[in-house]
Every structure is written in structure tokens, then in C-alpha cells.
Amino acid sequence: MSVTYLDAIRSAQEKALASDPTVFIYGQDVGRFGGAFKATKNLAERFPGRVIDSPISEDAMVGMAVGAAMEGMRPIVEMQFADFSTVGLNQMLNHAATTYWRTGRTCPMVLRLPSGGTPGSGPFHSQSMEAIYSHYPGIVVMTPATVEDAYTMLLEAVEMPDPVVFCEHKLLYYHLKSDHLPESAVPALRAQVVRAGRDVTCVTYSAMVHEAVAAAKELVEEGYEVEVVDLRTVKPLDTDTILASVARTGRLLAVGESWPWGGASAEVVARVAAEGFELLDAPPKRLNAKDTPIPYHPNLWAAHRPTAVRIAAALREVLRY
């Protein structure tokens, strides 16, 4: 049997619904239709009244979840695409995120964001939103890169007392496969070394983990051993794991699919520069998408985002400094 990244997300929601009666799912077309990407397929039938179709009202969808969470439920809200969550930002950033700090009462909810670029998706169906959500205090932001993490981290997200933004990568939905669902889990808030190496550290997350691993394989032939660190959760950032890796390698490349100004990769570089300056043998570098909206045409899209080839080139620069 093989399980895709999308199956893992569906299964995690199924398990959460089965084990916790306060869990419910709210989103456009998530009911009988099973969601635009089929992440809730058959769940409405199995859990009547708990997998609910919403109107096209992102602001109200998130606001409703905030209220339901305040009243003791654990809503999972599916955005049809991460990009449309901008419409619900006010409720998420100003309401969900501030509730615990203002009241001491928690606001446990999960906002699922089908994120990231795929060919032909263009400026409004490709965005990665982790930077915006991470900027605001009060939210946990997860960016799973593997089938195993998609499953265990989503389960952990549902159990967390805080609002969680769960950034799923659409490019991984159907293609990324595993033999079976995991039985044990690495804690969601911990980064992980997914490939060990002694020469340079490549810190990344989500779909870019796979590009970074491919780049690392390419550099083996040139005699370099690249250590790849998967952040898994970008907020809170597991600085310890990053610094421990840089202590081993002395060099850093941070990679993110989202835009270069600010964001997770900028934060990684800032932390290493500020807290691990002495560990560095070369200036830390980062690689992001180009600073334009995400293009429609595949030729432009392929040039806009970091790829294994571009990551390898950036790693060489850091290595040859």
C-alpha cells in the first residue's frame, strides 16, 4: 500500500475527528464533494454534521472558528487555496493570535493552507504565506515536507492549545508517497537533520526540502557533503538544531520558496549571524523566489522559484568562499 502526502492529511483529519468529538472541519466544498483537492474525501459521510460546507466567506470562516475555539471546540478550517486566506487575515492575526495573550484563554484551531507553486497556477493559486503568519505573535506555523510529517504534525496541530497555520504544499499532494503512515512522531516543533553532511548546512522547509536533498546529491560527485535541515515548523523556529548543524559545517545556505523580503529564510540567517557568528567560515547566504508575483507561464515559474540546480549553485558559492 502506498500513502500520498494528501492521503496523510486526509487520514490525520479522519483520526482527529474519530478521537476527539470537539474536532470539526469547515471549508468551501469540504462536505460531500470532499474538498477541491479531496483532502476531506468521505469524511462528511463518516462524521455527519462535523464536516461542513461553508459559504465563500473567508473572513467569517476564520472568525467563526475563533468563536468556536473559544467555546471549547477544535475547528479545522480549510482554505481552498492559501492565497485566499488573505481575506481571513484580520480574524487570524488580530483575533485568534491575540486571544491567549489578552485573556489567558486559549484559541485552539487549525487553519489548513494548500500552499506553494505548481505549473500554470499563476499569481493567486501559488502563494506561500508562512512569513505573514509568522510575523504575528501568537500563532504556530507548520510547513511539513514529508508524508510522515503531514500526518503526525497535523495530528499534533489539532491537539495544540494555540492557533496553528498548517501550510501544506500542493506540489507534494499527489506525487510524494510513502509505504505507510508512521506510528511514531518527531515532535512538531523540532527541526530535523534529514541528510547529514560536514561541509555546509542547507536549512529549508516544505517542498524545498526535496530540492535541497537533490542538490545535496548532485554535490556528492564534487566531493561535498551537504547537511540538510528541515525546519518542519517555521514558528517557533528551532534555532538550536540550526546552530548545532552550523557548528558542524561552518557554512549556511537558507532556502525558501516564498519571497526574499523577510520571512523564514531571512530569520534563519539573522539568527545564525547574531547567535552563531563565531561558528561561520563563510558569509551565510539565502535563496528565495524572485521578488515578483508568481508567474503563470511554466518557463517563468521555473525561473522564479529556487530549484535543485539553483540551490546547488548557491551551495557551491558558499562552499568556495
Binding site: 481575506v87 499563476g122 528565495n288 507561464h297
Partner: protein, 342 residues
Amino acid sequence: MAIRAAAAAVRSIQEGTDARMERLGRAMLRARLLEEKLGSLYRAGRIVGGVYLGRGQEALSGAGGVALRKGDIFAPLIRDMAGRLAFGEPMEDALRAYLGSRLGPMKGRDGNIHRGDLSRGILPMISHLGAMVSTLAGVLMAKRMKGEKRKVGLTCAGDGATSTGSFHEGLNLAAVERLPLVVVVADNGYAYSTPNERQFACADLVDRARGYGVQGHSVDGTDPWVCAEVLQGAVDRARGGEGPQLVVGKLLRLCGHGEHDDGLYVDSKIQRSERGRDCVQVMESEMKKRGSGKEWQSWRAEAQAEVEAAVIKVSAEPVPDPFEEDWSATKSGSEAEESGSS
């Protein structure tokens, strides 16, 4: 004398109507045939990304485009190929967006329905539903401030889009400002898979007009003659200073949400009802009944030839080249590449 004048007036109204119906009929056929072509290009793998068609919605959409004049502003949405073509978007530009031609107004940067041409008065929609209502209101505010008179803005929305805060805020704003705005809601019963009863609880979306303080009009979206009449009336009223007009047409989307979707969730009872009629077939059989079948056939043949020629032309056009692309999102200049971008 008086009788002659009256007869002439009737004749000219009749001719006006006929001219309008010819424009509408042609736009509907051009849209239908172009979209059928887009569907086959998609299935042949020549279009990357989604293809969203307006099959069954050509009469309502086209009637909006026909009712506008040059100098007006059109902000189409997902299923408005007919309205776009009627308003003057060249078929080539539609194809350029889908095929990513560098020569199109979007230069391959944006695709499919997310296209427009500000120089032609067509706003390029963003995906976020409801967003175009306030934007169009802003265009009309600016025209008023600049002293441009008697210009109308028309935008379209689906039943689902009416649930957005943006739609509500935009229409309310336009009503407060009494702007010459026409909002055409194509109520096709579904938003993707979501039926009306999970979308709104009022009996009919046109009832909302009263709440906004705007004029509301209901129309059978499957009847091209009625669509043309009602849309022209709404546009004329907006132009005449009567403030925003909300037109709600009932019809059915006779295709999936996108070409990737089989649309099996649509209730077959509705498909068999009056609402499920195909407006293009309605027009064809009515034309035949009126003895104009030949005319219809010639419009169809011309439209088909136009589609074929446009596909050949646009297929040969250059696609974007990342090395020649200007990678700056602001006119005033962008930051150095060194700052972390790929």
C-alpha cells in the same frame, strides 16, 4: 405624417433590437466555439493550469458586454468569455492568456481568466472573489472626479461570490456614492460543488437589492432576448444617474467548475428544468422559428473560422523567456538580485 414618424420609430427600434441581437448572437457563438476549442486544447495538454468555461452562461454574460459602449468599463469574472468578446476583447487575447503568449496583454505572467486590458477598459480580475466590485467603484469614482460623464461600469459575479465581504462592502460603497455601476450576478445554483442552500438563506439574491438601496432586476439567464433587454435597461438606468443596478440571472453552468471537474454534483432535476436550458440552443431554435436559420448558420461559420485562425496565429507566437523577462514588480525599480532571490 405622425403615423409615418411612429412607424419609422418602431422600425428603428426593431432594427436596433435586431442589431443588438445580432451582436449578442455572434458573441455567444464566438464564445461557445472558442471555449470548445479551449477545452480540446486543455485535453491535448496544450494549456497548463486550469481552464474555466462559461458554457450555458453566454446569453447573460454577452448581454452585459453588448449593453456597454466604448468608453465604459467592464470587470468580467470567471465565466464571461461572451461578455468580453461582445465588449471588444479580441479572441486572440483570450488565447494568448491561456497559451501564455508573450504578445498578450498579460505577457504570460498571468493566465486563463485572469486577464484584461486597461487600455480597452477591461479590468484584469484577481482570483479573490468579490474584489472587483469595489475596484470598479473606484474607477467610476475617478471618472466622476475627472468630470467624465455618462460612463458605466459593469462587473459580474457568481452566486458564491455574493457571500464575500468584498462583494457586500463594494456594493454598499457604490450605493452610498450612487455610482453608475451594474453588478450582474449569474446565479447558476452552485459555487463549485456548493449548492445555493449552503451559500445563502434569502429566497432570491435579487431581494438583497433593497437592503443595499439599489435597483434590482431578475432575468431568465437562458433567454437571450430577455437578457439583452434587461441588461440594456440596467445599463441605461445606471447611465441615466439612477445609481447601482443589481441584475440577477438564473441559469445553470453546463460544464464543470473547471475542465478538470466533471460536475457530477449538479442535481439532474435542475439540469432537466427550464433553468438547465442551453441559451445557445434557445437562440438557435428561436432564430430558425423566425426564419433566420440561415443567418445563424453564417454567424456560426464565421465564428468557427475566426477561432481556427486565432488558434493558428497565437500558437505561433513567442512564449516568455526568463532571460529576457523584466523581473521587477515595481516601476520605480527593484532591489538587487543579491538580496536572496533565485
